[in-house]
């Protein structure tokens, strides 16, 4: 009964946007996020089925931003786990400060530790530091967890997470301690991948999958307007058109695999152009576009500089 209640409670719509300049609890600036309907559906499905949602898409299409946007709209706590090449699966659950404990014991033996610290040593659990997934499991509320760029880690990393994601429990096995942590509420897990490594089949089987497609013209305009609410419509559509022109050319040359300008670069570009006001900005679009925002390799520089130069 409880489960049904929580499932029906959370429904992501993708329409609630933060106010301009709004910050989250950690002081991070919140950005508006405009998902397409298929993505919204996939998110709701993942919430309903309590399965992780694996998100792929080209760099800069908003894979990472999604989790925070969902957490913001549903008013749920948010935990981010940015995977590094040295990350181990256990780091996301907890780390045990063995060295700290050893140090405390040493200092006590030397008689240099205050009493309140000494009681800490008797309780092995006090040396457990929770990772993002561990925090989410312990939270009374359903928590949105982002596992960012899972493909950066070792190839065994996803497989090491299978039990934790499947049964939502893990065991802390450290000196004199055997603690089982069972999730109080199933977390809402988003996993992003840049496709640098293939993920193992056993892991894929447990995930729902969504590929974020590059937005169409209308949606691009919507996205820019969401980020820059007081921008003039003429300017937005002009910038979007020039941007799409560049992207189309890149797509023709490089095919699906190469690095192309993406949504995040469009927003950067617009930010620069909108420094000037009104007509001046509009005129600037026809002049040279800022190359440093759009062309990120020497090869691109040589090939596309002509395209972003002034139109005669």
């Amino acid at each position: 009964m409880d489960e049904v209640l929580t499932n029906t409670l959370f429904k992501y719509t993708g329409t609630v946007q933060p106010k301009p300049g709004e910050h989250d609890d950690n002081g991070q600036l919140l950005y508006p996020y405009q998902p397409d309907d298929a993505l919204v559906e996939a998110v709701n499905l993942s919430i309903y089925l309590e399965r992780p949602l694996l998100i792929k898409g080209e760099p800069g299409c908003g894979k990472t931003r999604l989790a925070r946007a969902v957490a913001k709209e549903l008013g749920l706590p948010y935990e981010a786990w940015h995977v590094k090449s040295t990350s181990r699966a256990r780091d996301g659950l907890y780390t045990y400060d063995t060295v700290g404990r050893l140090r405390d014991v040493q200092l006590t033996a030397a008689g240099r530790l205050k009493d309140e610290y000494i009681s800490r040593i008797d309780n092995p659990a006090s040396y457990v530091q929770w990772g993002p997934l561990g925090e989410a499991f312990r939270n009374e509320q359903r928590t949105v967890v982002l596992i960012d760029e899972i493909d950066k880690a070792d190839i065994d990393f996803p497989n090491d997470l299978l039990l934790e994601l499947d049964e939502r429990r893990f065991v802390i096995e450290e000196v004199g301690l055997r603690m089982e942590i069972q999730a109080k509420q199933p977390p809402i897990v988003f996993i992003t991948s840049n496709d640098e490594k293939d993920l193992p089949d056993a892991f894929l089987r447990r995930c729902l999958f969504h590929y974020i497609k590059f937005p169409e013209r209308e949606r691009l305009i919507e996205i820019v307007q969401l980020h820059f609410r007081d921008a003039s419509e003429a300017l937005v559509s002009k910038v979007v058109d020039r941007f799409r022109e560049l992207r189309k050319k890149m797509l023709e040359d490089k095919g699906e695999a190469g690095k192309k300008v993406s949504t995040s670069e469009l927003i950067d570009l617009f930010q620069i152009l909108s420094r000037d006001s009104g007509d001046e900005a509009l005129a600037n679009v026809d002049r040279k576009l800022p190359a440093s925002v759009l062309l990120k390799s020497w090869d691109d520089h040589i090939r596309y500089l002509g395209l972003i130069d002034a139109k005669v």
Partner: protein
């Protein structure tokens, strides 16, 4: 057709046969989602649901697309709008994978066609031409679908090689040489305890670098001529070695028939490098895998080729300890050809699951029998 008797199981079985990694869990997941109210609004929504639940890659997507079109009836009305009239003639449908239908879940591809007949007039003449146009359209669509089938059937039997991608990846994983390298991040408990014992006090924990796989592979691929039928296979070997495995590094070089003075960096033999220069550059730790039929495909016997191969192998053996030959032709075809002689100098295996596993263990330096087929 209502939701209850949709051929979902049939779709599921077909996808399983097409090698999508689906289990009974995944099927239940679909039913569960349907009960939860997902994917019941129209056909496109159902397809989106199946895609989210069952598809994990672009290849899978194509398979789903194909089988979904084959299995699912054109008209699906859910219980919600069961009063919608059954359209008599199918509306020429937008391709299901077009972005517009994906973006817009409310797109009603199943709505009955507008009764254009009445609109254009009631004369018999017009009606007849209308009918003829419809017939032509239907025929056209039917033939189009046929074309699609022949193409897609080819795609769906993508894994027809003796070793599938997945098996290749699994085999590559055994090729490892773990070495501690990189920043010291792992606690060496034993050394730390020793330190404490020596100094009577913990001053600093002893950290060591993490173990990483430093197995390096040098792939030499025979390209062109008798190897043309195996190009797909060699590409797949390269792809799985570079992406799927946990190899430190996999270098690929190409040659034709037998490497002599030069090796090529690209399959089209455009960029070349002298073997001596290449050898000087590469570390000695590499394991070398040669992928070539060694003349077994055409069944030729060439003394010259044997000598050339022997020279090349001798040159490589001076630098690399493990050199293994992988032959796309089955072992029974080697005897009496150049391959039968070449296998005297180097461990040679055929490309089967067992052959590939043997290759990997030979590359790791394990003992393997050189005799592959019964004499």
């Amino acid at each position: 057709m209502s939701l209850q008797d949709l051929p979902l199981l049939e779709l599921f079985t077909r996808l399983r046969k097409a090698d999508l990694p689906l289990g009974i869990d995944e099927y239940q997941l679909l039913l569960h989602s349907l009960q939860g109210g997902f994917g019941i609004s129209d056909r496109a929504a159902l397809k989106r649901l199946c895609r989210t639940l069952w598809v994990k890659s672009a290849d899978d997507d194509r398979l789903l697309d194909y089988h979904f079109e084959q299995v699912m009836p054109r008209q699906i009305t859910s219980e919600v709008d069961s009063e919608a009239p059954e359209p008599l003639i199918e509306e020429p449908e937008t391709p299901a994978d077009s972005p517009s239908s994906l973006l817009n879940p409310e797109a009603p591809p199943l709505s009955p066609p507008t009764p254009s007949i009445e609109a254009t007039g009631t004369s018999e003449m017009t009606t007849r031409t209308e009918d003829e146009v419809r017939v032509a359209q239907t025929v056209l669509r039917a033939t189009n679908i046929d074309d699609e089938i022949s193409v897609l059937q080819y795609i769906s039997s993508d894994e027809y090689f003796p070793v599938t991608r997945r098996q290749m990846k699994q085999s590559w994983r055994y090729l490892r040489r773990p070495i501690r390298e990189g920043p010291p991040v792992e606690l060496d408990v034993e050394a730390t305890v020793n330190e404490v014992g020596n100094k009577g006090m913990l001053i600093e924990p002893v950290l060591v670098p993490r173990r990483i796989n430093r197995a390096e592979l040098l792939l030499l691929i025979d390209q062109g001529g008798s190897m043309v039928p195996f190009h797909m296979l060699s590409q797949r070997l390269i792809e799985t070695a570079q992406r799927g495995g946990r190899l430190g590094k996999a270098d690929v070089y190409y040659f034709h028939n037998c490497p002599t003075e030069y090796l090529y960096r690209d399959p089209a033999h455009q960029e070349y490098e002298r073997i001596e220069n290449m050898l000087a550059r590469l570390s000695q730790q590499k394991a070398v895998l040669v992928f070539s039929d060694a003349g077994a495909a055409r069944g030729g016997f060439s003394r010259e080729r044997i000598n050339l191969t022997r020279t090349f192998l001798a040159q490589f053996k001076q630098q690399f300890r493990y050199i293994v030959w992988l032959n796309p032709m089955p072992g029974s075809r080697w005897r009496g050809t150049t391959a039968g002689e070449v296998m005297q100098f180097v461990p040679m295996f055929d490309l089967s699951r067992r052959g590939l596993d043997n290759t990997i263990s030979a590359l790791r330096g394990h003992f393997t029998s050189l005799v592959q087929f019964k004499a």
